[in-house]
Symmetry: C2
């Protein structure tokens, strides 16, 4: 598989083309130091053979915030050195921190915006990125990633809604690109030419008057011109449409652009691939071959492989799927794809983040704050001797399924559905032995089965398969009865 082949990223070679993007964990303390919870989270990815690990957003500055890693002073370096060492001891992954600058947000609803920055503030931010990058190199990281996405400072300069009217003028592309250019130049000065510097930025802002592909293609091209070593894409996650919650500071990801940033179950798989493909094609056509990372609801190994073989992306990023199962790559290598704990995009992780709680996965056994570690000596979940006993009934167009509980280490049940002769897909994962399919459509035949799973993705055999066929409701008669 091309997905499992090494990939060159500047001067580093990642062992494969799978990347875990920076994800908020809320595992660190407010002091900003690396702790054991943080280390445990990232060691899982390395043990799972993820090609490139991007550590959660790590502040380049000292601004007050909730729990957040920092590289804003030299005394933070030791903790990161420990993190890097333990990650490398556990597996083949390369690892870089995502370094971030963000503006102030108050509980009152007030938030600082980039038009409030004086030139000397901007100089300070440029310096802070440079110093943090140098500290990352000192800590032994394989490179760094500049956070230029979502609602944060560098992204606000790139935005089509950048309100500045000076040398960083939001009305011109060069004005919007100036801040990133300065940061990149300073970082390169501090870390040297041989240290990989990646970037994450938005392929689409997904806000009113925000930018879309024509601008992001040009932004990516500038990043390539400036010598970034990889370009990782995201979508949305902005303040402009965030939903204000009484007494809490405004939080990006709570509006529509947040939906698009972490597309949930209402979206199709791979909803953002066309953006990565469009950006890659554009920079390639201008003579640059900087690797482009596509993300967004990718979980199926075949989809991921197709992305890279079809040349729509160079690297495949998976956040929620790798949170659920950090051993995804290893299982694909071992051809044990059936043992992957499949993300269902229920976005419980997103909700935890939005509520400032420790980020865990709904699929893990209750109370777990880290992905469970696979124990092959233990049995997979199994059905009772009498079978799974899957049964269905239909009520007001909703297909209701019930089945017998499985025994063993059961963390939950995957519900599979197929339409007509189509292939079976997981439609939901549930903790109890029942499920209501509220998106069933009358007039279409559905085939269901369930499988129990433990917290590491080991599945029971499939249950019995049942076929459900409901009629199209007779609206004509209903209408007539009402008339």
């Amino acid at each position: 598989m091309k997905l499992l082949e090494p990939v060159r990223i500047g001067t580093m070679t990642a062992p494969n083309r799978v990347l875990v993007p920076a994800m908020v964990t809320r595992l660190s303390g407010e002091d900003g130091f690396v702790n054991q919870g943080i280390i445990d989270r990232y060691v899982r990815y390395s043990a799972g053979h993820v090609g490139l690990i991007v550590v959660e957003a790590t502040a380049v500055h000292e601004s007050k915030s909730g729990p957040l890693l920092r590289l804003s002073r030299d005394d933070f370096v030791a903790g990161h050195r420990d993190l890097v060492r333990q990650v490398k001891d556990a597996g083949p992954s390369k690892i870089v921190p995502q370094i971030i600058h963000f503006m102030k947000v108050a509980r009152s609803g007030w938030r600082q915006t980039i038009d409030m920055l004086e030139e000397r503030d901007i100089d300070g931010i440029v310096e802070a990125f440079g110093s943090a990058a140098a500290r990352a190199r000192e800590a032994g990281y394989d490179g760094i990633e500049l956070h230029s996405a979502h609602a944060y400072t560098l992204s606000s300069f790139l935005s089509r809604r950048n309100p500045r009217r000076d040398a960083y003028d939001g009305r011109t592309l060069e004005g919007r690109l100036r801040m990133f250019g300065r940061v990149m130049a300073r970082v390169r000065q501090m870390v040297g030419k041989d240290f990989p510097v990646g970037v994450r930025f938005l392929a689409e802002e997904a806000i009113k008057d925000g930018y879309a592909l024509p601008d992001s293609q040009r932004i990516a091209l500038r990043m390539a011109q400036l010598g970034v070593d990889y370009i990782s894409l995201s979508v949305g996650g902005k303040f402009e449409d965030a939903v204000q919650k009484e007494g809490s500071p405004l939080y990006p990801y709570t509006g529509y652009s947040g939906d698009r940033c972490m597309p949930g179950e209402q979206y199709p798989p791979l909803p953002h691939v066309h953006l990565a493909a469009g950006i890659k094609a554009y920079i390639n056509s201008h003579g640059f071959d900087v690797p482009v990372v596509s993300v967004g609801k990718i979980s199926d190994p075949a989809d991921a492989e197709r992305l890279v073989t079809e040349g729509r992306a160079d690297i495949v990023g998976m956040a929620r799927q790798l949170l659920a199962d950090p051993a995804w790559v290893r299982k694909v290598e071992e051809k044990r794809e059936d043992a992957i704990l499949r993300c269902i995009y229920c976005n419980v992780c997103k909700q935890l983040d939005e509520n400032f709680k420790l980020v865990s996965c709904f699929l893990w056994p209750k109370g777990f704050t880290q992905a469970p570690i696979e124990d092959l000596s233990k049995d997979a979940p199994r059905w009772p001797a009498t079978g799974a006993g899957l049964k269905a009934s239909v009520e007001d167009g909703v297909v209701k399924l019930v089945w017998s509980r499985a025994s063993g280490d059961v963390a939950g049940y995957d519900v599979f559905r197929a339409e007509a002769d189509g292939t079976s897909k997981i439609v939901e994962a549930v903790k109890g032995a029942k499920f209501a399919d509220k998106l069933a459509l009358g007039g279409v035949g559905y085939t269901y089965h369930v499988m129990a799973y433990d917290g590491t993705g080991r599945h029971s055999p499939p249950s019995n398969v049942i076929h459900v066929e409901t009629p199209v409701p007779a609206f004509g008669e209903t209408g007539a009865a009402h008339a």
Copy 2:
């Protein structure tokens, strides 16, 4: 060209595969009657050989509103009969009205939502659709279109944010589909099996927690099951994210979902084709061949042709492009594509609509309320004997172009830009003899030329061609200077 071949839509055959979707004109009076301005607008499309004309949203009920056509009483029929006759006298087009029900919106910010409807209100709406459909048939229309898109009543039932908890339950797909089912059944009862009934609905709601492709595929399938004769898609245009303007009733299309409904210059061409393709593939795979209409920033004949030959859509809808040049189809038939007045998606039409003003096109000569009629006996615009004299300068990364004014009937100038050896594309249309390219990127060579056009799309010869190459700014030095 397949685009120009006839297409079967239920019992009607449209002369080609180009459709003009319903567009607000604000040409009618508040009385709801057809007037000469309305007739002039639609006659243009027929004279221009548009395959299927969808007349602007026409109310099925008597609710107060701004200028809006109506079919809510029998005395509205005569005006529509006149409209249909004049349209048919002018050309080969088929014509259907889009019939709409909408809820109350107050200047105070209050708006009625579907959870406020009693069962008897719902019965009344179902009846009103049936009666209006019957009147449309009486008026001589070739069919009707049910408006089930954007912020209006039928769409609110289909929405994933439908707040009802009864038989129209927003938590189940069948609950959301029930209202459309009743309306379709009643309309069919009233117009008979041989009268084409199309529908317009949202392929994606583009609001927080709104639905996307997986739901819209199933909604389209239900529509096909119920015997709709065509499915026309749109995106967004919702109240949920509309921007409240002091003293005005809340208006959809003012938020991000409005941007997505009428994607402006910040979007790439054809940003929504994947949605039409996904829906068409889905219903086809379930054995239905109802024609699917794709819309959204389609203006190039080659793009439109590719859409239908590649099977991504059956019919191509163009709103803004056909507003600009209602003779688009005829010019393609006559192989005079260069004489098309090309929409630049400046969205002046959208702004006029948002401000409750008569909707016209920025490209038309000043003061025109209808598209000018081509007069081939007149000369096209021409450059002075000394040439166009196109010159460029660069200032803060912005490429500034100036040229000599053309003579003749000049309505404006199209500015063409090519990157490297790429093909030239119109980047802007301007009224004066200058243009500032604010999206130019240093380090990329651009080639520019301009052409003057009259209000019917006749162009002057190209100006002289100039090549502009600006360097990538030296951020490193700048950064150092600031440090």
